[in-house]
């Protein structure tokens, strides 16, 4: 019996020693070819979450009264091989129909070329369609808790599967042209059947107004299939002015962006038009204030603001104004307080909302677009 106990003890000590040796060896094995699981090749991983608390003058809009996880996002970025870089973005949010649980969505899963000739760049997969400025922003980059009503009405979440080609234009200033073709399956925008595709182009021009200021002018065009053989056409113009203090860290800064959308679908009713303008100003090291206005004319009722009686042709005009103050103690978190007002051309509909939003990012998050 005693010998048996001794044997167990020896085995236990041996097992512990082996375990400890394994722990000590672990860092070396992390990059060892012998294990076949080198962590050195892991992609850059980051996560971001937005929590939104809001209250609305509309008591009958449960989604606008309460505290919720607005969206959580995970991003993976890595070089695939000498020829491609990959980017994948997963989004978790409330289902569009307002049901329980969380909907999961692949917002982006794309390959970008690394070795195209003549300065060309090719992107393949699912990606954000390059239409204007706002459509390319992730939720945590927005100036306000929600996108301008013009964006919600005419663009929505614009990601689709296809190919995009980018080139620089030989002009004396920075000029980029993107042309793309996609599957034509953008919810609320297209309704592709069979082999119908959506096509678009975006032309960006940027000038250095001074060492510290830039002016950007862009033009976008996009066309895709609608039901019953009709075709959707959308044209857009965007204008952005940015200025930052060139001599002082965290000094004053101004970002001013405006966009105009002109949807021209076959068989449309009225003259649909979307417009927004947003100004953000950094008035202290960690503090920003933002003011924005937006209109969406002759649009079907917008999600979240459906409690409206449309015109006989089924459309409605929205007008919206917003004011937000943001405190960003670091590059990786911020908290925002916002008041927004929206009304329509219909009597009896208006909404006043107050919101507070928390936002944080962890991990190796890629730098944002300029």
């Amino acid at each position: 019996m005693k010998r048996k106990k001794k044997t167990y003890l020896v085995l236990l000590v041996g097992a512990l020693a082996a375990l400890l040796a394994g722990v000590v060896e672990a860092p070396a094995q992390a990059s060892s070819t012998a294990t076949g699981v080198s962590r050195l090749m892991n992609p850059a991983i980051s996560a971001n979450a937005l929590v939104l608390a809001q209250t609305s003058a509309d008591d009958d809009a449960p989604a606008a009264n309460g505290i919720d996880l607005q969206e959580a996002e995970m991003q993976f970025t890595s070089v695939v091989d000498p020829f491609w870089t990959a980017n994948m973005i997963l989004s978790f949010h409330r289902p569009e129909d307002g049901g329980d649980g969380l909907a999961t969505e692949i917002e982006e899963a794309s390959l970008t070329s690394r070795q195209m000739p003549a300065g060309l760049e090719l992107k393949l997969g699912k990606f954000y369609l390059p239409f204007g400025k706002h459509a390319l922003l992730h939720t945590h980059q927005w100036a306000f808790t929600h996108a301008p009503v013009a964006v919600q009405a005419f663009l929505g979440e614009m990601h689709d599967v296809g190919a995009e080609l980018t080139t620089s234009l030989p002009l004396p200033w920075y000029a980029d042209l993107k042309v793309y073709g996609t599957d034509g399956q953008v919810e609320g925008l297209f309704a592709a059947e069979d082999r119908d595709l959506a096509w678009g182009a975006h032309w960006t021009n940027l000038w250095d107004v001074s060492d510290n200021a830039t002016l950007e002018l862009g033009g976008s065009a996009l066309t895709g299939p609608l039901a019953l053989g009709r075709q959707q056409y959308i044209y857009g113009v965007d204008l952005t002015y940015k200025w930052t203090s060139g001599t002082r860290n965290f000094g004053p800064a101004v970002h001013w962006t405006s966009e105009l959308y002109l949807p021209r679908a076959d068989g449309r009713t009225g003259s649909p038009l979307g417009l927004y303008s947003i100004v953000q100003y950094r008035f202290a090291r960690n503090w920003w204030v933002g003011v924005g206005g937006s209109i969406a004319q002759d649009t079907p009722p917008v999600e979240g603001h459906e409690a409206v009686r449309p015109d006989p042709d089924g459309t409605v005009d929205y007008r919206e104004g917003k004011l937000a103050v943001t405190f960003a103690p670091s590059e990786f978190s911020d908290i925002r307080a916002e008041v927004s007002y929206i009304d329509t051309d219909q009597p009896g509909f208006e909404d006043l909302r107050f919101a507070v939003q928390w936002n944080f990012t962890i991990g190796a998050h890629p730098a944002h677009l300029y």
């Binding site: 000038w207 001599t247 730098a367």
Partner: protein, 312 residues
């Protein structure tokens, strides 16, 4: 629909055909450097055989340079991209490299020159585990090594080697100029050391870890940093603690960069009763710091002037 498709395809082909073919035809080696310090060293090494552009002006903190697409345009024609590394430029350089669409300067390409690879005296390399509770730390070590002019010597030799690889016809000239630059630095080192001798008898309070290499090189006694967690505004309690500590010592020079909140630092210096040295953060940060050697000259002179205001 078909007409629209054909028109878009034609447009794509047309822009592809007229796209700029790069700088293959350029006579001079086209060098783009992220920092003005590196650009100045590259000019000393490259002479008339290179054309050098700096992305971040010397008046700006390179942590926070806006990634303007116009900068990517400059990089699109570069044969060589010279950068500081250690993630100093991580907030904007990867984005610009991608936008430049220039395979000659991509990571791993012959034109990719990370100067941190030749720095042997890296400071403040964090322990194995690091998180952002300490602020926006650089996980590979303090990247502000150009503030120690001894580090300019291996950088010059690295640039000569890489320029010679890309432009073998002028290899001998690159190496000759690099050695001349090293000699210039060697000649100035004793003078800079002597000029700042008075300060070694006192103490310095620095705004940010930007000055760690300068403090280390000159053998200065550091009280602490005002911005103790990089990228995070210092708490009133920490600022008060730095003021209290400095007052107790009695002979402190406060150091900040031109891009810091100078009014705030002036107030801190006033409450301590200490002289303030506002220094250029990089070459070109002030008018007289127009080359790397003049940049170090300016720093040493301003430190000496501040030290002269302290009691004997």
């Amino acid at each position: 629909m078909r007409n629209g498709t054909i028109a878009l395809l034609c447009a794509a082909l047309l822009v592809g055909a007229v796209a700029t073919p790069g700088a293959a035809a350029a006579k001079k080696l086209n060098v783009v450097a992220t920092l003005t310090d590196l650009a100045s060293i590259a000019r000393s090494v490259g002479g008339d055989d290179v054309q050098v552009t700096a992305l971040c002006p010397g008046t700006r903190d390179p942590h926070y340079l806006p990634a303007k697409p116009s900068l990517a345009r400059k990089m699109s024609k570069a044969d060589m991209l010279v950068y500081d590394g250690l993630e100093l430029e991580i907030g904007w350089l990867p984005q610009l490299i991608r936008k430049a669409r220039n395979p000659r300067i991509r990571p791993g390409a012959p034109g990719d020159v990370d100067c941190s690879r030749v720095i042997t005296n890296l400071l403040e390399v964090p322990p194995a585990t690091v998180d952002r509770s300490e602020g926006d730390l650089h996980p590979m070590g303090n990247p502000h090594y150009t503030l120690d002019p001894r580090n300019a010597e291996p950088i010059a030799r690295l640039l000569a080697d890489r320029m010679a690889d890309l432009d073998p016809d002028h290899a001998e000239a690159y190496h000759r100029r690099a050695e001349a630059f090293v000699q210039t630095i060697e000649q100035h080192l004793p003078r800079w050391w002597e000029e700042t001798a008075a300060l070694r008898a006192h103490h310095v309070l620095i705004y940010h870890k930007h000055w760690s290499y300068l403090v280390n090189w000159l053998g200065l006694d550091k009280v602490g940093e005002i911005e103790n967690r990089p990228g995070i505004a210092p708490s009133p309690r920490h600022v008060h603690e730095m003021i209290r500590k400095s007052r107790r010592l009695g002979d402190v020079v406060v150091i900040c960069a031109t891009w810091d909140d100078v009014d705030q630092v002036k107030e801190i210096a006033r409450r301590i009763g200490a002289p303030l040295a506002v220094l250029p953060g990089h070459t070109g940060g002030v008018k007289e710091a127009d080359t790397y050697v003049h940049f170090i000259d300016t720093i040493c002179r301003r430190l000496a002037e501040a030290a002269a205001q302290l009691p004997e």
